[in-house]
Amino acid sequence: MLEGILIGLQTALSLQNLLVVIGGCLIGTFIGMLPGLGPMSIIAIMIPVAITMGDPSAALILLAGVYYGAIFGGSTSSILLNAPGVAGTVASSFDGYPMARQGKAGKALTIAAISSFAGGTIGAILLMIFAPMLSSVALLFHSAEYFALMVVGLSAIAAFAGPGQVTKAVMMTVLGLIMATVGEGALFNMPRFTAGIMDLQSGFGFITLAMAMFALPEAVFLVLKPKNLGDDGGEIKDLRITRAEARAIAPVIGRQSIQGFFIGVLPGAGATIASFLGYAVERNIAPKDEQDEFGKGSIKGLAAPETANNAACTGSFVPLLTLGIPGSGTTAILLGALIALNVTPGPRLMVDEPQIFWAVIMSMFIGNLVLLILNLPLIPYIAKLLAIPRNYLIPFILFFTLMGAYIGQNNATELLILVGFGVCGIALKFANFPLPPLLIGFILGGMMEDNFSRSMQLYGGVSFILERPMTLGLLVVAAGLIILPILRARKAR
């Protein structure tokens, strides 16, 4: 292994490859900030550039840099504008945006950068050590376990079910799940609840819904009650994290790096589930007074999903590199790039082309480090975006909201749907219905139903819950995550 690491370092640290990774990180960060363009689209766009480079190691290093940059860029728009462009950064906006509204945008971005760095780096170390062993364990996970994992992910809604809000949070989750059933499902191959409208055949767009429920209501509230987000100009670009804050987030980062990595290893699970799960777990194990802070600007609530989604991204390379199985949309595109570069990922990759295998892993370390070094000095300037006068900032937020939905679907009808949902989102916000559970339900709903249906068909009923110990265990954990906080709250009363 040491020899491989040295080969990888030698390749990744050449001047050309260092420039490539810096360029990739910068491109990924800036394009990733645009709502609607997630890592998958950016990598797809960069593939022709990577292929023309000719050298597979340099090409993969470029794509890895773009990947990490895009994830960080996506978090930036979630934190500053409450406009999560990809599902994996939705959970970052739960506490990141409230922090930005409290004038702590610089601090929030620093926590995001450090958590992402730590998640990615620890993930890469785990990848180096456990990759061959984990690939076989990942295959033990079947649809029943995936279904149970989604249920655990759904328990994140507990963070939004405050006193007198439990039914509203449940209602919003159900509404999200209902919306996820619209359109043609992967398993049943028949359109449902489309009312014969062709545009609904593929269901509602995630970005449209995210923009309508998060970014648009926030922008309208800023219009209704003017408040420049940069009012606390002295603090907004302040990056400093106090020693107490560092001490508070360190264990969260440690736990979520490991948990996120292992979730990422499972094909199909990925950054989205890892981030929701990370958020749910950290909230539930936090002391009571800190639990109440979740959803209102908790640093732990921001560090958890940021660490978990980066670690999961690294974890998703395990099945790709060791088995040739793409575990997510992004890794599927990377697989395409590898094949175009005449590299066949799989069990033989480590033996036949160790320079590529290890160069990719080393480029993960370098990419994360470069991203941190590049972004920390930029954070004060990025955070200053919020100090733009409201008369200019709000039209731009609304424009990027619309563009996010338009680029994703290339359909002007989507913009009208966005405004329609946006008005509903505003009404729900007026009546204090928590909106994050709706999006959590929508994102996890489709996957949950597919995996549940697959398990039912395989086992001829719900017997899989009892027959598969891992499924039962995960469901017990989910029940615990939901019930324990309620019991604790009752006891406290």
Partner: protein, 160 residues
């Protein structure tokens, strides 16, 4: 009746229509081989409709105890806020959606940004116009030329 109960009433309606579709109309067109499956396309929606109806009834009837919380903005006194600006901006978004294709990206977007700032009270035309034009040009160049995603720049009568 409080706003959350009105919303619960609307949600109850949605759940009833959704439930009716799931319970009474979806299964009719099911292929015979699918009927032998332990799970049908309507199974999950049926369960959701029941939970949705129960949850909306709990909110509608006020069965969950809790104080009525007013958020950042009190919707009962909307007149005290800049409601006109908000409504105009929402209207502007609809107009933008309708004009984006026929009038092209450059004109629609510049107009959206300029009128948006105007609605919010900005009157510095020498700042508004250049900012809008530069931003529009930059986004168009990035999306169309760099990323290769088609955005018709000019109105329909001026070619592609």
């Amino acid at each position: 009746m409080a706003l959350d109960r009105w919303i619960a009433l609307v949600l109850l309606g949605i759940c009833i229509v959704y439930g009716y579709t799931a319970w009474f109309t979806m299964d009719g067109s099911l292929a015979p081989f699918m009927r032998r499956n332990p799970i049908w396309p309507s199974t999950f929606p049926k369960v959701l409709s029941i939970i949705g109806i129960v949850a909306s009834l709990v909110i509608l009837l006020g069965l969950e105890k809790g104080e009525e919380k007013i958020g950042d903005i009190d919707h009962r006194r909307l007149g005290d806020y800049f409601i006109g600006q908000a409504l105009f901006l929402l209207g502007l978004m609809v107009v933008y959606a309708l004009c984006l294709r026929p009038l092209g990206f450059v004109f629609s977007t510049s107009a959206f940004l300029i009128i948006g700032s105007f609605i919010l009270g900005e009157r510095k035309w020498h700042v508004m116009v250049p900012v809008a034009l530069i931003a529009t040009g930059a986004v168009w160049y990035l999306v169309q030329e760099v990323l290769g995603i088609f955005l018709r720049p000019l109105p329909f009568f001026m070619g592609v």
